[in-house]
């Protein structure tokens, strides 16, 4: 279970003051739950995801993971406690091959075979043979990189995975597969997923939907209750104000 308590994150603003990016967020995300976080651009969604992974540190408030206070823990410590993070804009590495990255993701103890690494790539719709020995560098397109990023998260298979806009930059055909990937991840394990997304079809397969705007939780609830309101034109404005 992930608990966010009175979470705030400020950055220095122009001049002397500060700007609130995350403003007193309180949220509890239960185990084995698929939570979609949505809301307008610039509302603080990606920052919230980074706070959970430890890439950013909150100005105040606490983050508890299965009852343990992880607020002061490093990214590495959180990763080893079972939290994963898929970047919105995946990182490129000269010289590190797709195979190497998937092996690192699976963990040093697993000594992942090439065949198993290929399975993870196939799951995200990449023809493994063509990619496994390629470098994760500028020769890969944005969409390819994005799918490899998702494959690294599947390979990690941790109790909590946070995806920051996984659909961005992915073509329509792959998007259908992506939906299947998330459905399968949710159905075949007891792991929890947090997916930041603007896509109705991703919101539609979630258990819970959280709307974040202006750094605050505007609404939270079951998908069945939330989705109709979000989709009904004028109504949705109330979350976005």
């Amino acid at each position: 279970m992930l608990e966010l308590k009175d979470l705030c994150f400020q950055v220095p603003a122009d001049g002397s003051g500060t700007k609130e990016i995350i403003n007193n967020i309180n949220l509890t995300l239960k185990d084995h739950t698929f939570t979609a976080i949505t809301g307008p651009n610039g509302g603080g969604k990606s920052t919230l995801a980074k706070l959970i992974m430890g890439i950013e540190r909150p100005t105040s408030g606490r983050i508890l993971w299965n009852g343990t206070d992880i607020t002061e823990m490093s990214i590495t410590e959180r990763a080893n406690l079972g939290i994963s993070f898929a970047f919105q804009q995946p990182v490129r590495f000269k010289g590190i091959r797709v195979k190497d990255l998937i092996r690192l993701s699976a963990g040093p103890d697993k000594k992942l075979s090439t065949a198993s690494a290929c399975d993870f790539l196939s799951k995200v719709g990449l023809c493994a043979r063509d990619y496994i020995n390629r470098e994760v560098d500028a020769s890969l397109s944005g969409g390819e990189l994005k799918r490899i990023e998702i494959a690294t998260i599947i390979a990690r298979n941790t109790p909590l995975s946070v995806f920051d806009e996984p659909e961005a930059g992915i073509d329509l055909w792959s998007f259908n597969n992506l939906i299947k990937v998330f459905e399968e991840l949710h159905e075949t394990s007891t792991n929890s997923l947090i997916i930041i997304s603007h896509q109705e079809r991703i919101l539609n397969i979630a258990d819970e939907i959280v709307v974040i705007a202006n750094g605050s939780v505007k609404a939270v609830g079951k998908k069945e209750e939330m989705l109709p309101e979000l989709l009904s034109g004028t109504e949705s404005c109330k979350f976005y104000q």
């Binding site: 490093s74 990763a79 995946p90 091959r97 190497d100 690192l104 690294t152």
Partner: protein
């Protein structure tokens, strides 16, 4: 050979035992072992230290190993090795130098390798440099490579210096005839107070000749590196040089690419980039459970692979 020399040999030539094919192993200034084949002859020079390696025309799928190891502190040597490769050959040449210096005096190996390559031949040349030992004496290597490539010949040259060489000044010069091609890949890492200077001078003299110089370098601690790449396009030709360097700690790196077109149809490109390890790269690997130091190690190892 003793254990230290055997370890050096393994590092520079990947050899656990005597290699197949032709070889000449030089240890502490003297040739300790040699083998020639029907197609590859190795002859000791009479006028200066070094050997002539003569490869008959039409020699295919054969290799020559000529590693050098130095384990005696204070030894300084200058060696001239000349390679005569006939027409229509396809050979692999593995050279390399390992210095173990546990004494207080400098140990130094300077080598001049000259390649005279005939027509339509393919030569793969691999050179590794390695230093070990914790003495105050420096481990110094100054390799010089001179290449003359005949018509339609192709040379692939890989040089690696990853560890333990205190000071190196390497120079590579190549002249290419019509249709000849050279691809040079350099991997260099310096640490501590090491200095490394690597310079290339390639003359694309023949029509449709081409050159590709790729350097990947990492400088850590207080080390200093200078990379100079000159390509002269003297005919219809294609030349490309690329220096990609990671700078860490208090190191300093200079990359000085130079391209000169002396012909309207010379197409020349240079690229040079120096930067520290991107913060995003470290963060990504930390989200996979690596510590910051482990992440850096993976990034550097991958970069130099």
């Amino acid at each position: 050979m003793d254990e230290i020399q055997k370890t050096l040999l393994e590092q520079v030539a990947g050899l656990h035992e005597m290699p197949a094919g032709a070889y000449n192993i030089r240890a502490n200034g003297a040739s300790v072992s040699r083998n020639t084949t029907a197609n590859i002859d190795i002859v000791t020079k009479t006028d200066k230290p070094g050997i002539d390696i003569v490869i008959k025309e039409g020699t295919k799928k054969e290799s020559v190993h000529i590693p050098v190891v130095l384990s005696q502190s204070g030894l300084t040597e200058m060696v001239y090795n000349d390679f005569y490769v006939g027409d229509d050959c396809d050979v692999t040449i593995v050279a390399g130098c390992g210095i173990h210096n546990s004494g207080d005096q400098d140990s130094k190996h300077d080598g001049i390798h000259a390649f005279y390559i005939g027509k339509n031949s393919h030569v793969k040349y691999v050179e590794k440099h390695y230093g070990s030992g914790d003495g105050k004496g420096e481990r110094i290597m100054n390799p010089q490579t001179i290449v003359e490539l005949g018509e339609n010949s192709f040379m692939e040259m890989e040089t690696v210096q990853i560890k333990g060489v205190d000071s190196t000044k390497r120079s590579t010069e190549a002249k290419l005839s019509a249709g000849a091609k050279i691809v040079i890949t350099e991997r260099l890492m310096t640490h501590g107070n090491q200095t490394a200077e690597s310079s290339f001078n390639v003359d694309l003299d023949g029509a449709d000749s081409s050159a590709n110089l790729i350097s990947r370098a990492v400088a850590r601690d207080n080390s200093r590196q200078i990379f100079l790449a000159k390509i002269n396009g003297n005919n219809r030709c294609a030349g490309h040089s690329e220096c990609d360097a990671i700078i860490m700690d208090n190191a300093k790196i200079s990359a000085i690419p130079e391209i000169t077109a002396n012909d309207l149809d010379a197409a020349l490109i240079h690229e040079a980039a120096i930067g520290k390890i991107a913060g995003d790269q470290i963060i990504k690997l930390m989200t996979l459970g690596l510590t910051e130091a482990e992440a850096e190690e993976q990034i550097v190892n991958g970069f130099l692979k």
